[in-house]
Symmetry: C2
Subunit: 230 residues, 2 copies
């Protein structure tokens, strides 16, 4: 990671393991962190508490939690009354896909970047151990970076925006190991799409399965409390 | 305009003259209209009332007014305590530019399009009589349409999204004439960035100047009540 000392960066912080490590890498690079969390009225709004803990842990200069009620649109198991699949990670893009979510969220980070005179945006997408969401793929991130130049006043004036996706080519095991290397407590983060009434990770949704497999493959203790054991 | 009978389209509806005519053209094309208005805590929130009137006038099947508080970001005369310029339309991009606004709004329309199984989005941008905002230019709109394919599940499955910007190459006089041709009452719409306490158009901001000049150049009666006469 390049040295970002003295630079303000915008970190898209969901509260999940990936965004936690992404924020940790921005901190390690010496950046001044402005964290953005979108409260999109998601099924697993408990992740907002994790985002707040992580923002504190990385010493964020500012943490904006922005309400944006995507339940008004619906169309996803995370924003409508559609069951979260529990039968394992499949080949197709699953119903937990939220229409255009990463494009919406990156667009918001870009607006915030301009307003804070930042040109660096961090997002924790990865396209190896993931659910096949199109908006996690490298070509989407590259396309967004290109469009950022056309979409903004700063881009028009020649500022080069950089969309940093440092986990892009990591497996979930790599990410779990990276959390350990950074000395971050992965127990701060939240992954489950369908938390139990007792506030546990369900253990069966795609996101729980990927998380659990990551710690196992990395040979690391998993701090997560799952309702269903492996 | 192509025939859109039976198709659901998403219309980005600010409540201004341009979005009004844009919605009128979608209606004329026979489309079923889902209108999206973003309440971004803008200085001229009175435009939301106009958006509601226009949505009714065009017979929108659905009108979503979505709160998204861009004042949390600031960085614009429309979303922060910065004076709205009153000295005429200049060469530079003015401080009324809202960071990444059209990218944020188009991203939202794209998410809504996917959720409503629509592939057609209408936006009333034009790049002739405008304030030089980069996110009104044809290359931005084309770039967004390209990225829409990479950003979405539907795009991944081969659905071709179309971003319709039917006012792209119209002057403000053309747009005023188009409103008349469509039989729409331009008095429904709101343009002013800095409404007076009495609820009048200020008459001096860029948006008022462009609006007034449009009606004058078209040789049409201007239904607008300006605080300062020409």
């Amino acid at each position: 990671m390049q040295d970002l000392s003295g630079k303000t960066v915008i970190v898209l912080l969901s509260g999940g393991l990936d965004s936690m490590v992404c924020a940790g890498l921005a901190r390690e690079a010496g950046a001044r962190i402005v964290a953005l969390t979108v409260d999109y009225n998601q099924r697993h709004r408990v992740e907002l508490d994790s985002a707040a803990r992580i923002a504190t842990a990385v010493g964020a200069a500012e943490h904006i939690v922005l309400p944006l009620d995507l339940r008004r649109f619906g169309g996803s198991a995370l924003t409508a009354d559609i069951d979260v699949p529990k039968d394992g990670v499949g080949e197709d893009i699953p119903v937990t896909y939220v229409p255009a979510r990463n494009l919406i969220f990156l667009s918001l980070t870009l607006g915030l970047a301009e307003a804070r005179r930042s040109q660096d945006i961090f997002i924790g997408v990865n396209a190896l151990d993931y659910s096949g969401y199109p908006d996690c793929r490298p070509e989407f991130i590259a396309g967004f970076q290109h469009l950022a130049q056309l979409a903004t006043r700063d881009g028009d004036k020649g500022v080069d925006f950089a969309i940093h996706a440092p986990l892009q080519h990591m497996t979930k095991a790599d990410i779990a190991a990276e959390a350990a290397r950074l000395g971050m407590d992965a127990g701060m983060s939240w992954s489950c799409y369908d938390p139990t009434p007792e506030g546990l990770h369900c253990g069966l949704c795609d996101s729980c399965r990927l998380r659990r497999k990551g710690f196992a493959d990395a040979g690391l203790a998993d701090p997560t409390r799952y309702a269903v054991e492996a």
